[in-house]
Every structure is written in C-alpha cells, then in structure tokens.
C-alpha cells in the first residue's frame, strides 16, 4: 500500500463535496447504514419521467463513503434510472475486482475507488452510497 492511498480525487471530494446538502423537492430518499462503523448517509433524488434530474446526500461518513457518494451523484445526475442502475452494477463489479478496462472508463472518476477492492475493511464504506442508490432505483 502506498504512503497515501487517499488519492487526490477522494480527498478533494471529501473536503469539497458538491452534493452534501439537503434536497428540497426530492421525490425519494433513503438512509443507508454501515453497521460496522455506524456511519449513516441518506440519499435524496429528484426523478422526473425516469430521469434523475437532481440528487444529494446528508449524514455522517468517512472519507471513502463520502467521496464515493459524491462521485456517484456527479455521475448519475442527468442520467436515466436504467443508466444509473447499469453504472451501479459496474461499480459493484469494480469493487469485486472483476471489471474490464472499457467498463472502468464508463465509471469515470469513480475509478479512483478501484483500489478499495484490495482493502476489505473499506469495501462497505465505498459501496454505502451505491447500495442506497440501488435500493431507491428498485423502489421507485
């Protein structure tokens, strides 16, 4: 492991999150919990005609879970639910260590979390936001 596996992308998203705020007008919200450390984040989405037009998250998380949720929202805002579901599956595949290079490119900045696959203690943090998203997409 390198001297600092918290690469610039993660640190930047953690220190300057774009999507850490309440979302008035959200059409759906759901809280996800990481039982191993007690972290809890709530994901809020505004979905109109099958398109995620806006999104945000609130709550307390570590760098990995915050950055992962922030990057995720960057990626899915403006996309259809089907596209978001596809990206979620790609992210899970990446964390499982089974992603191809082409698929990794689709994840854009979320690829900064690829090394988490080698850190079992942090996998739950990285997937917290994405699991919460998957729940919302299934519910909607």
């Amino acid at each position: 492991m390198s001297e600092n596996f918290y690469n610039e992308v993660l640190i930047d998203h953690n220190l300057h999150p774009q999507h850490l705020h309440e979302l008035p007008g959200a059409t759906c919200s759901h809280s996800g919990m990481n039982p191993s450390c007690g972290d809890e984040i709530t994901l809020h989405l505004t979905v109109q005609d099958g398109v995620i037009t806006d999104g945000a998250y609130t709550g307390v998380g570590c760098t990995i879970s915050n950055a992962s949720a922030d990057i995720m929202l960057d990626l899915i805002i403006g996309r259809t639910k089907a596209e978001a579901a596809h990206l979620t599956e790609l992210f899970m595949k990446m964390i499982g260590g089974e992603i191809t290079d082409d698929e990794l490119a689709e994840l854009e900045e979320a690829g900064a979390l690829q090394n988490i696959a080698r850190m079992p203690a942090r996998v739950k943090c990285a997937v917290l936001g994405w699991k919460t998203l998957r729940f919302l997409l299934d519910e909607e």
Binding site: M1, N4, Y6, C37, G38, D39, C62, A121
Partner: protein, 403 residues
Amino acid sequence: MRNIKTDFPVFAAYPEIAYLDSAATTQKPQQVLDAVTQYYREENANPLRGLYDLSVRATDAYEHARIAVRDFIHAASKREIIFTRNATESLNLVASSWGRANLCAHDEILVAVSEHHSDLLPWQTVSRETGARLRFLECDQTGFYSAEALKNALTANTKIFAIAQISNVFGRLNPIREFAAICHRNGTLIVCDGAQSVPHIPVDVRELDVDFLAFSGHKMYAPMGIGVLYGKRELLEQMPPFLTGGEMIEYVTRESATFAELPHKFEAGTVNVGGAVGLHAAIEYIGSIGFDAITAHESALTAYALAQMRDIPHVHIIGSDSAQEHLGIITFTVDGVHPHDIAAILDADKVAVRAGHHCAQPLHQFLGVQSTVRMSLALYNDEQDIDKFAETLRTVRRRMGLE
C-alpha cells in the same frame, strides 16, 4: 521487564506491526500454544462421561483449568466457575437464566451507560420479555461514576446493576467494591463485566463482593472460544439452566429431566477442553510475570502514550486527562478526520488500532461523538510501538489534505 515480545510468535511472523488493539483481543504466547497443542496431541477425548483412561485425562485437564481460574480470581469454590465461550455468553447466561427467573413488571434493571453492547443487549431482551424497566446510570465526560449518582439511581425495585470494572472505551477503573456494597444495602445484585480488567489487574471476587463476574480468555492471552462466568454459589444453585442438552443432566425421561450439579448444569454439550487448557496456561503465564510487573509496565506505557498524544494538535482524548484513569486504553478523535480514515492511515504504517463505536453505541451518543479511535495495550507492547503510533498520528491531518 524482560523482552516479552519473543514469547509471542506473531511478532516474529509480523515483526513490523505495532499491535495496539489488545482490548479487542490479545496475541498468544508460545506457552499457551504449546499447552493447547499438547492437549490435542496427548490427552484429547470427550471429557466428563468417558469410562477409559484418556477421557479421564481430558476431564482432569478441564477440571484443573477450572481450579486455576478459581484461584486466579479468588473464588470460594470451583463450583462457582462456569466455562462459557466468552464474556458475552457469560453475560447472556446471567440475563437469560437469572433474569427470566427473577424479574417481572415493576422491577428495574440498572445498566451503566458506558457498557459494552454485550452487557446491554441481553438486558434489553430480558426487559422486553419480563416487562422489567431498563434504566441507565450516567457518568461524567471523564467516565467517572459517582457513588451518589448510584445511590440516587437505585430504587426499591432495582433488582440488578450491570457495570464493567474497566470501561472498554474510557479505560477507567470503576470502584466496584464500593458499588457492590451500595447495591447490597439496597437489596440489589451487581453483575460485573471483567473483560477489560481481569487480564490487567488482580481481581478478587470475594473482596469485590460481586454477585457475578464475566470475562473472556482471548483478551488475556488464551485462545478464542473460552470464557468464564463466576457467580455466587447460592445464586447459581437457584438459577435454571441456560442451554440444555448433553453433559448437563442427571436423569432424563421422555417428558422431564433432572439437572446436573454446579457447574455442569450450565455447561451443556461437549465443552471446550482445549480452550480451557489454553486459559490455564495463560493464567500460569500471567503468574510467571506477575501483576505487579504487568500493571507497572502497562501504566508507564499508557502515560508515555498519553504524553505524546497530548502534544499533537487536533487530537482529543475521550475521558480523563489523567493517565491514571486510562488502564491501557486510550480512545481519541482527530479534528476533521473520520476515525475509520485514521485507522486506515495507521494501518498503512503497520499500526493496528480499532475505530468505530467499540460496541458502545449508547455511550458515543451520550458523549456526542459519532465514532472514535481506540489504542489499547498489553504486556508485550513497548515504547517503540507507541513511538511508531505517535509518529503516524502526527501525519494524519496532513495526509488527509487538511494541513
């Protein structure tokens, strides 16, 4: 103290580690590993029922371990020593067996707010089942519980008080002897979680006058899967079995059974002889060093660590400022950095600590902190471990882009 680390093979296999998570589990010395291996190589059979020499030897090994535990905690009788899997199971045994038989609506269970979940959830369960009310004794921000607060919290209906001798978050020693006397004057029993105290300080159950004491072998250099419940004989005699099955009966018909005498009444099924043998060896290992030396060494290291941590900006110690109130356990936070990230950065530099709420979520809610990092010591730690820990701790904020 001599170089203790050479007794622990894990430090030869993993020489670069600064292992500071002994409150979670300790490493195991060669003496314990050898005793367990020797038992399985030379004395293994199903104990207590066998009618042949090898089974008698296994039974002897198991019962000798019980006597060693009796002497270690100064119990009056080996019948008061119940082997369990760990402190959690011991506390569940008390709540389930004593609680169901003795609690009803209008009764009260008093639990210290800093208790580990293992000394809270069993009481939540029995409270729901019996209708007994669950109440909490609160400490101050330094982890101090006052005798006055306890006296005020006890009512005529308080049947039992649950508190750890040393909190696994604060590391602070609670005045159990004084609290037991206060409880008993009120007709209240006291159950003490000794998981963090029994490995580090001499514990005398008769001097403390506790009604129950629970502890784990794996936090005191013994294998995982062996623990102890001490209970006063007159209480244990009156309690119904916790688990039922083999080994714990005298006579069974299709509809009913008579149960074995203490302690076997509470030890259903084939028992963990290998674990008990390992615990026996661990007790002898601790005895060979002596609590005077262990306590002096661990206290000096705690003070050494605390002095360094105090000088690091943005580090906040949970609990007392005084090293005397942290028996080998220092829990802390760093401004702006999530505990999970602190632990990960320490891990990257081969320093092992725990992050989260340390199975004490209500305490964290009470203290108003989301989660914390905990470093904890055992007799094998040295100043190099602390230096390595402090060196990385100084870099945490910089590595998180905050400086």
